[in-house]
Assembly symmetry: D2
Homo-oligomer: 288 residues x 4
């Protein structure tokens, strides 16, 4: 992890076309940037190309702005979108929660120890319960209660917090409200949710109770981007834990907690390290 | 594994009632049988009790018939059903396949090396392809082709093979025909199927293609008993394998093969060792 | 988990002898205690028998003292040692740390949310760094620095903290000092250590650096009881994580943290639920 | 897997130097080859660069010889060694075994179904036992018994079989003889061995018995290249399986078999797909 955020990262995607790798790597060579790690993948079904490059400039006076504008010209020929990330960047995020604290606690720990290079600007919740936890980490906590009648209003407040905070990513760390379609659209591709099942299995409410009813021998969790179809957004990563006949629904809930924490933290780390590419309803994940 | 089939096994279940363990263990003590491994579990939701005991008689002239009839009297007081299994028993089975050979190949290997204490009486298939594989293992192969018109007739033939073979278990090792409701009922609790998904996700046909469409990051397999609701029978065990964006549907199929083999073999081993208890739509599995 | 600590637990061991199960289960029946979960195992190599029983008394005025003294008589005939644990018991513990906070943070979270039924009486460290973390949880923190010259003295102070706290278990949550042989003996069977390797591989200092040098593709952690031979105490549980060529030693350290936390928490949970039996240099673990 | 061997593969390594990626990707662009998957990694500790590229030529009359000789010139400037692999290539191999058949059986299955693109030219064994298995697959079986006195002679015979067969890889699929230092040197980097432990733990003979003595809760297997230091060759991949107190040494042996098969097959697949790079005592593995 340490290494990834210590390097410059160039992440790009475009339609499949001869020279997609070359346009990136030749430019880096010419810019005297040494490539330390690179992945590329061409999806023959969607006809889309993805590339992620970690590099270190040889020159001490590396000019990121010039790099970016010069590369933009070449990228344009390939209809390529790209993002350049500086070393040591901490991604500004807002975390949304309800009452369950395990994912928030885990993210806060990784944040305060620097294991996860995020900058938590605010925690938003429809309940007051987790305020002390945020307070101990000196993070503003916005208690924004919600009722069926005030849903639109509350979401507007949530949105305002997100906007003002400058967050580039929203993390739904067991936020137990169904977002409106409008909110989903606004957050599309900018928010990661943790769902407590192996999607698309057990969509909707109380997945562990559904899992108990079916007598499954594995439970899991899915971290995915929010898009307009709730619980159907592009999957980033999934985790799993064995269970048995001795586990009643409340035991499945308990056993699922660790998997949820790890799966969400993994997804956020992958996102922050620019290892995840989103295209249509799928992700490309250049894991280490 | 070696140890399990080298011991006598008493497996029983009954409604929850004070003394359910005692009725078993006291009898074993009085019969001078030494218990080497025991599991019991009381399911508070269904109000049902399950027990599995491995033991070795101290007496050399242990009389199994007398043991069985004497214990039956005591068990009756608890409305307890039970099964006594001799050491070294090889369970007679029939295996059903179509064209895919990986599960069959795996079961045959474990059978011929004695790793799986089963006695394969016959292989039944709706295709001729796997006949040489069965032949090399000296196992009768019944090619029973099927068409929509001949389904009832073919199932009658299949049933005849099963009956004549004396099989106590039927293993559906990637048999790609949907069994009729009547056949499911006949095989209920007596047949183990391997489904190539993490049920209840991706029921029905082509689960790996469904999984690809959803962009999942894990594929899995489920071994379950057949009951009257196909793909919804009680789950015995499930396995999982990580996949990525580089895996096209045919790659998921390939990656799934090992998981299917291991999951099915595991389920059969658990069944043969009398570690699986069936009650209503659930299983209790006393794994080691 | 919830269920385990909500029940009475009887855990016992003795030499192998006909009637070892019966002596327990008959007594429970006569005491009108309903067994909800039971495991027993007879180790034919060591000739030792182990049993763990969860039960709920039918009588509302269950008399634990009478139960205990009555059972002691019968147990004596089998040279059986046993322990009776009340429902809802929180085991008093002392946690020892140095500078690394991940295991402590994890244990504190599980403690404050009740997921792990322990009562943390004190945190002891040879460094001052983790004091704020303990303070936020209102737990006394004892900073007891150590030098080669003061080792004996410091260990005496540590021992005093443990004794005064009433701790029944000491958790070495990445305490980076080698305990003296005398201290090991004192803590023998009463302390759980987390070692950051798959013991017996990579004993001693800097196991992740050793692992890097060998080019392993998996790193792991081992939770074990302290005995007189450091890093060789009886293993309770082990965990593992995949690594690759991209992981430098500091990355292995980072990747190992989650495995260490989960492995240690798992071992403590198993211990607290009386699922771990210690005999000679081995453990019997009746996992769910 | 299917995809990998359906593409051309260029695998290369050289010292770290600006332009190492560019020299490969620019050439591919100029040769009108479309890159479908690419990984590169620069090891900052060893100062060595590794790259693997899958590509498909746009031209139907792609001239591999010209490609190779033209690229050789450019590669020379970077002191780069490289290998070009045609699509559909089946690597010629020789498999060495003793009496245990599980790994051989597994490799033969993957070979005969085309899952593993290898061409098994011969099976060599110091025992006659596995001849029928090889015969059923129409593979020459060389029974070359060995005694301490005939070791040098036998190894010469083995070497002759390997040489005559044209094998590019030797697979030690549980060959239970210690190879002489001379033989190790000859096979260095050309042979993959499966060791039945998580190396460097439990080197030498009877690792499962060693594991039992230590009371471990996980057993594993290691696939590694042979080099001059037996059991210390560069690790390709490792696998693991949970075990418990119920597993006696013979049970560990049984439980380890599946892990050994899967780990060895995985290593061979990675090698055949040119995903493994060997440098000094380490491997770089560009897994999917």
């Amino acid at each position: 992890m340490s290494d990834s955020t210590a390097s410059w990262i160039l992440a790009a995607q475009c339609p499949s076309l001869l020279g997609t790798v070359d346009v990136v790597t030749r430019f880096l060579k010419e810019s005297r940037c040494y490539i330390t790690e690179q992945h590329s993948f061409d999806d023959r079904i969607s006809g889309r190309f993805f590339i992620r490059t970690e590099f270190r400039p040889e020159a001490e006076d590396f000019d990121a702005e010039a790099f970016q504008s010069d590369f933009a010209e070449r990228a344009a020929e390939f209809d390529m979108t790209f993002e350049l990330t500086r070393p040591g960047t901490r991604l500004p995020v807002v975390i949304m929660v309800s009452k369950a604290d395990h994912c928030l606690n885990d993210l806060l720990y990784r944040y305060r120890t620097g294991q996860l290079p995020i900058d938590i600007r605010a925690v938003v919740s429809n309940h007051p319960d987790l305020e002390p936890l945020a307070a101990w980490h000196n993070i503003p906590y916005h208690h924004l209660p919600i009722t069926p009648e005030t849903k639109a209003e509350q979401e507007a407040q949530v949105w305002e917090v997100i906007e003002k905070s400058g967050a580039e990513l929203v993390i739904l760390a067991r936020y137990m409200q169904v977002l409106s379609s409008a909110m989903c659209t606004r957050l599309s591709g900018r928010a990661i949710n943790i769902h407590h099942s192996l999607l698309p299995g057990f969509k909707g409410a109380k997945p562990y109770h559904q899992a108990y009813d079916k007598g499954v021998k594995l439970v899991g969790a899915t971290a995915h981007y929010i898009n307009d179809d709730l619980d159907e957004g592009p999957i980033i990563t999934q985790g799993v834990a064995p269970v048995s006949h001795t586990d009643y629904p409340e035991d499945l809930v308990a056993k699922g907690r660790d998997v949820e924490c790890l799966t969400l933290a993994r997804a956020v780390a992958l996102h922050v390290e620019r290892r995840v590419f989103l295209h249509a309803r799928r992700t490309v994940v250049f894991d280490r």
